[in-house]
């Protein structure tokens, strides 16, 4: 119960940040990625600011032995930079450049846009669903370890 409430509040604050900063508007995101055109650098400060707050906050939080509403911290344990990571990130960046949405802003726009934003969200979930069901040892990974 408390965990769900914490999730709601964190999601809400995150969403407010996305809307206030303009990240929830694809046109602004595409202008941020368009460094050769009418570049809009303001999102550098949005992401940089978020990064600095998180960097400092994470260090304070991790002095505690456990989070408030769960038994332990659930942090990623993988360390290796593999082909799967890089190929996935490359495809994600391409989709980001095509549509101007990454997952957070796409969800935040649920009540704002019409059919095209729903097309994005539904296709995004379909893409996740497919990728999650790929065999762990894909041909790409085999190629990288050869």
């Amino acid at each position: 119960m408390m965990r769900a409430f914490a999730g709601l509040i964190a999601g809400l604050i995150f969403g407010l940040g996305l809307v206030v900063s303009g990240m929830s508007n694809p046109a602004k995101v595409l202008n941020f990625l368009d460094i050769a055109g009418a570049w809009d650098p303001s999102l550098v400060f949005v992401m940089g600011g978020a990064l600095m707050v998180t960097f400092a906050g994470y260090r304070l939080v991790q002095r505690r032995s456990a989070p408030l509403f769960a038994r332990a911290f659930s942090l990623p344990t993988k360390r290796d930079v593999d082909a799967r990571l890089l190929f996935g990130a490359a495809l994600f960046g391409m989709g980001w450049g095509v549509a101007g949405y990454c997952p957070g802003p796409a969800i935040t726009s649920s009540t704002l846009g019409g059919w095209p934003t729903w097309a994005f969200r539904i296709a995004m979930l379909a893409g996740m669903f497919i990728a999650q069901r790929l065999p762990a040892r894909s041909p790409m990974k085999a190629a990288s370890t050869r």
Partner: protein, 130 residues
């Protein structure tokens, strides 16, 4: 605010605020007690524009670069890529970079580079108005 939310989620639930991971986790076979907070996070995320509107603030309608097919193509790439690469702008770009994770730094450099390259191709080489 994005940073505050990320710190809050770690402090309270011990979780990384990676949106693709939070949403994608709902598509897997769920572990017990692991579903409600994800759904609530997404509800909070989606409720933000409504809260701003209710408080009298102005919320821009998103200006999209294309129609249903264009956005679906982008969505498919974003969904497939984030699930394969284990994170998106928030999970790798903010939370992972804040943890100085080599994987997240590599992923962020990669998706920034391909994002910039894609916009360059669409706007300046293909001459699209997107």
């Amino acid at each position: 605010m994005i940073g505050v939310a990320a710190v809050l989620l770690l402090a309270l639930n011990g979780r990384i605020a990676g949106i693709s991971g939070i949403a994608g986790g709902l598509l897997r076979v769920p572990a017990q007690g692991d579903v409600a907070w994800r759904i609530c996070f997404i509800i909070g995320l989606a409720a933000a524009p409504w809260i701003i509107g209710a408080a009298g603030g102005a919320v821009d309608r998103p200006a999209l670069p294309g129609g249903v097919i264009w956005m679906a193509a982008g969505g498919l790439l974003v969904g497939f890529g984030t699930a394969l690469g284990g994170g998106c702008t928030s999970g790798h770009g903010v939370c992972g970079m804040a943890r100085l994770s080599a994987r997240s730094i590599a992923a962020t450099l990669m998706f920034m580079a391909t994002g910039v390259a894609t916009v360059f191709v669409i706007r300046h080489l293909a001459g699209g108005g997107a």
